[in-house]
Amino acid sequence: MVLLAKMALGFGATVVLAGAYTFREGLLRVDVDETRGRGQHVHVWLPAAAIPMAMHFVPRGQMLRAGEQSAKFMPLVHAVAKELQKYPEADLVEVHDGPQYVHIRTHNGNLLIDAEEPGQTVHVSCPLATIDDVSRELAALAPAS
């Protein structure tokens, strides 16, 4: 019985630690809800720490192509993400235009984008540190100009 309890505790502690490690950088969250037409709903929740890790499993050729295609704007994305980390709580842009609404802000070190229009809402949340990591890696893959 004691042995079983110890095994359960070990397994539980491992799961907790693995979970804490995986989610230490927060979540990448994308929620898209359409209420018009066929009414598609997309909900993606990914541990942010897994994204830079997953990039190492993408074939080299694909990554080089991604780096090439994003070469023009990735240094800008990287610069913005790096600087925004200094402002973990900030309202950056808020636009109301009739029924349309866009809100871009940082909260707890995450970049949050909320966009609403009749029939569709989009919410994106991504840790700034993850954007920084990914953009840095993609910028490094860009061909030297």
Binding site: A13, A20, L76, V95, G98
Partner: protein, 205 residues
């Protein structure tokens, strides 16, 4: 506590403490940054547009000057390159913007341009180290007023680059050294536009 459960105590205590203190840490971080005033030395550029038309458009933009200053050199598009805008050959209705800036910089305080007509009044002046532009459009039902106030140090920083360019990054850096100032104010029958600088990270109307 029994002898069987005693070995589990340190682990349970650690996990309990971790779960108890984690939300407190987040709460503390959140509450410390919720206030409107940002950390010492931070300067924020605010833009607010409010329309009273049927759509009721409102735009609020808050940008930390330091961020703008560091990000601007990363933009390489059209005339903007490394934080500088090329104005060589720029056609502003035949007006040489740079020459006007330089003339104003080297002159004493005073009103340089005064145009009074049936449609609008325009004045350009330099006062207390600031370049002031005032336009009063009389054509609209509710007369439109445009006020632009640019510190001369910012004008000088803008002109610090080579002859055919304006150094926007230097201008932003100079702007950061200014106190709270309202840079642009436009009021007409439908729109209110304000661009101002302060140390708050939220827009207070």
């Amino acid at each position: 506590m029994t002898t069987r459960t005693r070995p589990l105590f340190p682990v349970t205590a650690f996990l309990a403490a971790a779960f108890l203190y984690a939300p407190l840490g987040i709460q503390a971080q959140t509450s410390s940054t919720q206030s409107g005033t940002s950390a010492y030395g931070e300067r924020w550029l605010h833009v607010r547009v409010i329309s009273t038309n049927s759509r009721g458009e409102t735009v609020r933009v808050n940008v930390p000057l330091e961020l703008a200053e560091k990000v601007l050199p990363a933009i390489d598009h059209d005339r903007l390159h490394k934080g500088k805008v090329r104005i060589g050959g720029m056609d502003c209705d035949g007006v040489d913007v740079r020459t006007i800036f330089e003339a104003v910089r080297n002159s004493r305080d005073g009103e340089f341009v005064t145009v009074e007509s049936k449609d609008q009044d325009v004045s350009v002046a330099k006062k207390d180290g600031q370049l002031l532009v005032h336009v009063h459009d009389k054509n609209k039902p509710k007369h439109s007023q445009v006020e632009v106030k640019v510190p001369m140090k910012v004008v000088e920083a803008l002109l610090s680059g080579s002859k055919d360019e304006l150094d926007i990054a230097a201008g932003l850096h100079a702007l950061a050294g200014q106190g709270d100032v309202e840079l642009v104010s436009v009021k007409d029958d439908e729109n209110t536009i304000r661009v101002w600088l302060d140390s708050k990270n939220v827009t207070t109307d």
